[in-house]
């Protein structure tokens, strides 16, 4: 985190640089089932973050030696587009991206019944088209929906959100400026129905007390995200189902005539 403090990130009325309250999330827009080739896909906009996720599988695994005898192998690639950040990022995977791919996989795998598909691969691709802080969290949120869209059986829907500390105050869902200029950032992924935290990282400095408050704040954020995820899935699939039943009714009435 840089020590540069050119302008204040939070004003005296506790209003943040983008006009949010301390515990307010950025506006979130999610869509599911948007890529025709993928078995499951989803897109999220959270603040200026624009992230796509696609799932292929369960499918045959290549190379074969990666196959697991008792479950499917979840393979995850988190990747940032070269144009997603201010200074062009080399498209080759960086050490940060490799670490994030690992922790995202470990955040999602507890939710999936991988034991249903031994010796197969479930491939998950997360492409960050524009980054604005909190991309791993938005990436997990959107990836969970892509997995659901692919029809992969899951124990719960993983929801993710970050909380942290900026200019001495505890805040929810840090944007890029707050992440870089703040004192601490804690990304969390959570399965609300199982009360299970599947991703937890932190950089920055927090006292024991602050740590508890930030974690609780982040979990509340995850619960809000969870609501949005469920609404998104319902709006796609419940509507589709209703349309189907309506269609059936019509054919019935036609048949009666």
């Amino acid at each position: 985190m840089s020590q540069k403090k050119t302008e204040k990130l939070i004003d005296e009325n506790d209003v943040r640089i983008d006009g949010r309250k301390l515990d307010e999330m950025r506006p979130v827009k999610i869509e599911v089932g948007i890529l025709s080739n993928a078995d499951g896909s989803a897109y999220i906009e959270q603040g200026k973050n624009r992230i796509l996720a696609a799932v292929y599988g369960p499918r045959e695994i290549h190379p074969k030696h990666q196959a697991l005898p008792d479950r499917a192998a979840l393979r995850c690639r988190y990747h940032m587009a070269p144009f997603s950040v201010q200074e062009r990022k080399s498209p080759a995977p960086s050490r940060r991206e490799m670490e994030l791919s690992k922790v995202i996989r470990e955040a999602l795998e507890p939710s999936i019944f991988t034991e249903y598909y031994p010796r197969t691969a479930i491939d998950l691709f997360i492409e960050v088209l524009q980054a604005d802080g909190g991309t791993r969290c938005a990436g997990i949120t959107v990836a969970a929906l892509a997995l659901a869209d692919a029809g992969i059986p899951m124990r719960d829907l993983v929801s993710s959100c970050a909380a942290g500390k900026v200019e001495g105050r505890l805040v929810l869902d840090l944007n890029d400026f707050e992440d870089k200029g703040g004192e601490a950032d804690m990304p969390i992924a959570y399965m609300p129905n199982l009360n299970a935290i599947t991703l937890l990282q932190m950089d920055g400095m927090l006292t024991g007390e602050e740590f508890e408050q930030v974690l609780n704040m982040g979990l509340e954020g995850c619960k809000q995200i969870s609501q949005l995820q469920k609404e998104t899935l319902k709006s796609k699939y419940v509507v589709a189902k209703e349309a189907e039943t309506e269609g059936e009714e019509e054919t019935e009435t036609e048949a009666e005539k």
Binding site: R95, E99, K102, E109, A196, I197, L206
Partner: protein, 265 residues
């Protein structure tokens, strides 16, 4: 233990014992293994240390070279942490470019040092925005018997505290090394404490066979005033918020104990 995978029976035994608050090697749930620290074994390096944590063994060497600062921090030296899982350390390690495990190890060690601002990087500037000193921390795992993160973080801290910065003067933009040394300026001492979750129990400092049984792993780095400065969850399992709060309290206490072994004031 020559076999990598503990036999299934043994794994079951480990899990059963932990459920009753006991461990196969006789430790209490919150006990670390015996720690041995030796500093300054490598004369060619500016700083070095070898840490043994039970049978886990990690060597860290620190080299300092002149280089360019990052554009966003022109008035600070640079910290670079790299980790090598050397093939001689375990039958499961292979030669080749760093895999995700060694990258994660390096980045978690890095996070503890960086976020606690352990090194006074402002004192490593030769010419702001142009020339600074880069501190290379190379973690070399020599024997893998579990909990590489804590052993590596401890060895990195011990090596940094052992690091001698050469005296220099700047003549016509060139760095001229002068005789004599001074210690690398340090202001904080982060200690990493790793927990394994086995069943619904947490244990401190898992050794290899416990790592093979664990559902998930949680590392917390604690700085000198007891603040938490870095955190990383790993593994395919999960934690409850309650378990994490519990772990943070134990980590603060254990870090204090371990720090006394390195920082003698």
């Amino acid at each position: 233990m020559s076999s990598i995978m503990a036999a299934k029976v043994r794994q079951k035994r480990i899990a059963q014992l932990i459920a009753r608050g006991k461990r196969l090697d006789g430790r209490e749930p919150n006990d670390c293994r015996e720690v041995q620290i030796e500093s300054g074994l490598i004369e060619r390096a500016e700083g070095s240390a070898r840490v043994r944590l039970g049978r886990t063994e990690v060597m860290v060497g620190v080299k300092i070279e002149a280089g360019e600062p990052f554009p966003d921090t022109p008035n600070e030296g640079v910290l670079t942490v790299n980790a090598e899982l050397v093939p001689l350390a375990s039958p499961t390690f292979e030669p080749g470019p760093p895999d995700e495990n060694s990258i994660e190890l390096a980045r978690v060690v890095d996070r503890g040092i960086r976020e606690s601002k352990a090194i006074v990087t402002e004192d490593l500037v030769v010419e702001p925005g142009k020339k600074v000193f880069i501190v290379f921390v190379d973690v070399y795992v020599l024997n893998h018997d579990g909990n590489l993160i804590d052993a590596s973080a401890l060895a990195a801290l011990a090596a940094l505290m052992n690091t001698k910065m050469f005296n220099y003067e700047v003549k016509e933009g060139e760095i001229k090394i002068k005789p004599g040394y001074k210690p690398l300026p340090m202001r904080n001492y982060p200690i990493a404490i790793t927990f394994a979750k086995i069943g619904d129990k947490l244990i401190v400092d898992p050794w290899l066979e416990e790592e093979q049984v664990m559902d998930a792993r949680l590392t917390m780095a604690v700085e000198k005033d007891g603040k938490i400065c870095a955190m990383q969850k790993g593994g395919y399992g999960y934690f409850t918020a309650q378990q994490i709060f519990e772990a943070s309290k134990i980590a603060q206490q254990k870090a204090e104990e371990l720090r006394k072994l390195v920082v003698k004031e």
